[in-house]
Symmetry: C2
Subunit: 259 residues, 2 copies
């Protein structure tokens, strides 16, 4: 079994995104047992992703945020988040994403983070990362390096004010979607992201883009994030930092924990 071309994964994400877009602006949320939100859009999009990707990668194991599970054989595992940022989606904020992550054992080797309402599609495969089909440069290789925009910022989860003391000297933004946050780090726009204790479907798709530009995930308390440990859908054991190794090392001492 070979990894499908990036164009096929992108096309599947775009078709799934169109389904979600049809619900955007009038989605009715329900609460799941973990207190997060779900809508009909999440369920329909996940079903569409599972159907299409199941045909494309018939031997792959599949896990999805809304309960999709298919035991497979072979090296590939698909981690799907039909709508990352469901609360944003329900509220009407355009920063939600459809996420397809392809892992080879613990490594995200391909992925798509597609933000239909923003018309931004981040993707990765075979070591290359792309935004709307244009290659993304390695982190730090853009014009002027990490401070090329003059105004430094990081991205943080929406409860960072309650969980952390942030002594970061720049701006802190919070846009409503973990996958979008990580994608913006991979794009070299934000210096790093502080992610709430994530599950594999939050990390896999943008992680493929992030790794392709030289970035990675580390736990706030230290250590690389092993996605294989999260394969059953459990939450990560700690908050996660996403960025280049240098950006993560610089940010970690600036993130304190609140009692």
């Amino acid at each position: 079994m070979r990894l499908p071309p990036r164009s096929e994964l992108e096309a599947i994400a775009v078709r799934a995104g169109a389904i979600a877009l049809g619900h955007f602006g009038h989605a009715r949320p329900e609460r799941k047992a973990d207190r997060t939100l779900v809508t009909a859009a999440d369920r329909e999009v996940e079903a569409a992703l599972v159907a299409e990707l199941g045909r494309l990668l018939p031997d792959a194991t599949i896990i999805g945020e809304e309960g999709a599970v298919r035991a497979g054989r072979g090296p590939y595992r698909l981690a799907l988040d039909p709508v990352d940022g469901t609360a944003a989606f329900v509220a009407g904020l355009p920063t939600w994403c459809v996420c397809i992550g392809v892992l080879e054992r613990d490594r995200p080797v391909a992925g798509v983070v597609h933000a239909p309402a923003l018309r931004e599609t981040y993707s990765a495969s075979d070591g290359g990362a792309f935004l709307n089909g244009e290659p993304l440069p390695p982190l730090g290789a853009g014009p002027g390096g990490g401070d090329r925009f003059g105004d430094r910022f990081i991205l943080a989860h929406a409860r960072a004010h309650a969980r952390h003391h942030l002594s970061y000297p720049g701006k802190v933004r919070s846009l409503g979607s973990t996958a979008y946050h990580v994608a913006l780090v991979a794009r070299g726009m934000a210096e790093a992201a502080l992610v709430a204790q994530p599950r594999i479907w939050d990390l896999a798709a943008p992680g493929a883009v992030l790794e392709a530009v030289g970035g990675r995930y580390e736990y706030l308390g230290g250590g690389l994030v092993d996605l294989d440990e999260l394969a059953d859908g459990r939450r990560g054991r700690d908050y996660v930092l996403a960025g280049s190794p240098e950006a993560i090392a610089a940010l970690r001492p600036l993130v304190g924990r609140r009692a």
Copy 2:
């Protein structure tokens, strides 16, 4: 002199937004004396706004973020922010807005907050508020009231982590534009916004939308914001809360100041 119809103000904002959109993705910033950013887009958009609005309201006083000043007579004053969220614009974040505020003495009586990259246009005149031409309901009158989306959130400026202790129990998002924050409060999406010490062009346009749905601006330390005091372009004397009177009263005790 009569207030121009909302459709004319919207059309001017849309034309100006198209100019800015032409620069979006490859804007080169410079730093102004106050350390904020400016680009050619800010200057071109402000010139276009001044030219068109100057014809439409020939007697109005005009003040713009990028230095436009025209002394007028008559009751109307225009406060213009060609690109609110310039740092977001420069970075490539789509949450920037073109802002036209029309004040009658201290009151914002009409305004447009147009987010070209999001295709969202908030407007107000004659006491009505609109998003993309659809009327916005009064604050608290939407289905289910303030908590209709299940997940409560406020919007905060990007240095809130350094300036405030926030004990708000919901989520805190920060999207990159003051005017967009206030527009989302007027839309009933966010409960309130905590705004960094603003200038009149940050507040006027979204303030017209906010007032039309029953919201208002108050200083964090208490007291209504008198836009007449800010008419010369000075910064507000304190942080500002935007929301319904009830939401502001509920939020104020949850915002502490850091030393």
